[in-house]
Amino acid sequence: MIQKINDFQFGTHYHLEKYKFDNGLQVILFPDKSVPVFAYHTWFHVGSRNEREGITGIAHFFEHLMFKETTNFKEGEFDRKLEEAGGKINAATYVDWTFYRQSLPIESFDMICELESDRMQNVILSQKQLDSEREVVANERRFRVDNNPTGVMYEELYKLAFTSHPYHWPVIGWMKDIESINLEDCMTFYKQFYAPNYATIVVVGDIDTQHTLQTIDRFYGKIPSSKSTHAQLPKEKEQTQQKEMHLELELSSPRVLLGYKVPQATHRDLPTLELLQSLLFQGRSSRLYRRLVHTDQIATHASGWVNHTKDPGLFIIDVALKKDHQCEEAIAIIDDELQKIVNTSIPKEELQKCKTKVETSFWEQLKTVDDKAQSVGFHETVYGDYRMMFEEVHQISSITSEQIQSACKTYLRPENRTIIKATPKR
């Protein structure tokens, strides 16, 4: 049985439909007939949030193992078939999700359904596979973190900001855990999370709805669901004082990260925080970018973004300073600009400018079939409803100066932040 959950029209070009199968599998279809290709994304509702100390990194590790042998396809056959078909293949893991993405010519639709449904149930987990991939993952960690100052700083930021929630540990995992994850851990993880009731398939492109649903049903319909678990994750205590750490790294000049605790993606204040981010960092005329890089000229780079997560996350500010300047100078300017926002109403023109920039960014994420699938999959997985990607733009258009000021006062205050200061090794 396939149940239609909803459909959604946006403008004249975009029409989406969401379906649910008996085994819990969700499917979202987004036809785009302008090119003879399609994107096929499988979003699993599992990420590093579903790990524990001792097996940190297993969600990401598993992303690697999913490209290995299955009972029906030898090692390498998955990649080989897709690449021979002209496909682009990749995968990614984060705190709340893991997703597998392919973009393919339309002729390959049945093939990708067969391959993806196969590896959802038939991956062969062996010690040999585990050990060979362990070294690749360890090397990825050396590349992304151990030999990369940016990686070190972000790892330390989350480690310090979150003390009890799983966002505390890095998605790639601690090296000691990467080295010790065992076969049993992997089997348990696979059995639990790689099941239709933990997955949402997003298909965007030159598709026929009827054929697409029938084909997905043919390949996935009989896969049993796993027993859903809703483990209560530890809640972070409210942060009441500023946390701070200083690192000496192999850097050319100082750099500072500030992470302010903000609510989960579905919270009503998130669109306001998104607009606040635009006011501070989007474009050369944004307040903090201009002040840090152009007016006071203490930084070469200044950016900020809201990390949209299932549980409360961070509003991150990242400033790369010029070599003769100190992290404290940047922090003082940030505090000054934030205080100005709290104290003074934002001019109407400036507010409109930010809304226009957000509108442009919205269209930016809808360029290719792959972009569209990613946006839909992300919103469905993190927000629980893909329609939020369209709704958020609408919400932002009506946000007022008072709302931004209030959000700034509530969330971007010193006692609610974690600071990582990094200076060059002497």
């Binding site: 290709v37 090397n139 050396r142 192999e250 152009h294 442009t360 360029k367």
Partner: protein, 438 residues
């Protein structure tokens, strides 16, 4: 999607790729000169001249320009390459005419303010310094410097601290007057566009700039390194290295360029199934990524392999890479089915080269820039289909060098250098500090 051709409008080469599903327009205005015209000891002058266009005009301050662009929801950047300068970005369709007014202002009224020039030089110097944090980028920079020593391609488009310090307001003004002409400017639009918008764009450029001829640069000769050269970039406390191994190779205009494209794709083209990825990552687990690529340039192209193993695997990984190169040249590493596989991939993935109007625009401009035939994209699949494994085997010696390899390694000298020298037995060893690369 239809692939359009370039059209002459007035004196301009123009191209427009329309698709109306998003109310966004991408624009490119490209000038036919780049960092290659930088005077000796003033590397970075072209780049700085381009950037100064956004730093103030007679009627708009820099702040006002930035405010206006952000109000319009526009992104506008000026990119300098070795052979071109382009003004490009994107904007909501409804604001396009207003954007053109800003472009007209910056092209016809820029003041090249002295204070802004000093600020910009300072900013670029800081950006160059930040590059010291990027190990992969440093290994690649070292590779290019050594490969093209004495040629523009060895330089940074942004210049360096010393050359930047010598650039004055007068230099910038003269450079602008000399080179920023409407002659041979290329204009491209994609997205939610119309003929009226293209006409308006042409009119704007015509009104903004004079039509003077621009001096042609003298192409410097190339003296590629000979023998096996180990260039070691020393950076302390690395637990991992980044290395590039490569040599000069054929241009995209070569009659056998498609044979090479197919062979290179099968050997190291960034696919999981490519031989290099299989040997380095899949079989040996030495690195998370291992791939090769070709940097196609107007005067000389280079082919290289790149990976990033941990220290103890570095000598083995370089040695294996050199063995793989030798096998590739001998034609013993790839079977006919490997070559057919690469052909299928290139043929069938072609729709992804043209699945957005922006990509078609970029492809068309890139091919014109490199002097490729006008129908390069249209005939791409035909050329791929025509590649025959037998012909490739007769041409392999043109694709890869036998002995002239440049090996650029970023790592910690104390841990690795002796070991690498002993293992690789290079004809020449050069050691530089990573800090010399800015």
């Amino acid at each position: 999607m239809q692939i359009p051709s370039f059209q002459k409008l007035d004196t301009f080469d123009t191209i427009m790729v329309s698709k109306r599903d998003r109310p966004v327009v991408k624009f490119v205005i490209m000038f036919p000169f780049g960092a290659e015209v930088d005077p000796h000891n003033q590397q970075g002058l072209t780049n700085i001249t381009g950037d100064m266009l956004l730093r103030g005009t007679k009627s708009l301050t820099r702040t006002e320009i930035e405010n206006k662009l952000d109000e319009l929801g526009a992104s506008l950047s000026i990119y300098t390459g070795f052979h071109s300068v382009s003004i490009e970005g994107q904007i909501l369709k409804r604001n396009f005419p207003e954007l053109l007014r800003i472009i007209q202002t910056i092209l016809s009224e820029s003041t090249f303010d002295e204070d802004e020039l000093e600020k910009l030089k300072n900013e670029i110097t800081s950006q160059l310094r930040h590059r010291l944090d990027d190990d992969q980028g440093l290994a690649k920079t070292a590779f290019n410097r050594e490969m093209f020593v004495g040629h523009t391609y060895a330089q940074e488009v942004m210049g360096n601290e010393k050359t930047l310090s010598s650039i004055t307001k007068e230099n910038v003004e003269t450079h602008f007057k000399t080179y920023f002409s409407s002659k041979q400017v290329l204009i491209g639009l994609s997205g939610d566009t119309s003929n009226a918008m293209l006409d308006l764009c042409v009119m704007t450029i015509k009104r903004s700039l004079p039509t003077n001829d621009i001096p042609q640069p003298n192409a410097a000769s190339m003296n590629f390194p000979k023998g096996k050269i180990l260039l070691f970039v020393d950076k302390p406390e690395r637990t991992q290295t980044h290395f590039f191994i490569g040599h000069p190779t054929m241009s995209m205009l070569d009659p056998h360029a498609f044979d090479f494209l197919v062979y290179q794709t099968a050997f190291s083209g960034g696919l999981f199934q490519a031989k290099y990825m299989q040997e380095i990552r899949v079989k040996r687990g030495w690195a998370y990524g291992a791939y090769g690529s070709v940097d196609y340039r107007k005067y000389a192209s280079t082919s290289y392999l790149y990976t990033f193993p941990k220290n103890v695997d570095t000598a083995d990984a370089i040695s294996t890479s050199l063995d793989l190169y030798a096998q590739a040249r001998e034609g013993t590493i790839l079977s006919t089915s490997d070559i057919e596989f690469a052909k299928h991939y290139l043929y069938r993935s072609f729709p992804f080269k043209i699945d957005t109007p922006g990509k078609i625009l970029s492809q068309k401009i890139h091919q014109k820039h490199l002097g490729l035939p006008e129908d390069y994209i249209e005939t791409y699949r035909h050329h791929i289909e025509a590649v025959q494994a037998d012909n490739i085997h007769n041409r392999i010696s043109d694709f890869f060098t036998k002995q002239d390899f440049l090996i650029s390694v970023l790592g910690s000298k104390d841990t690795l250098l002796d070991q690498l020298v002993e293992r690789l037995k290079p004809d020449q060893v050069k050691v530089i500090s990573f800090e010399e690369l800015i």
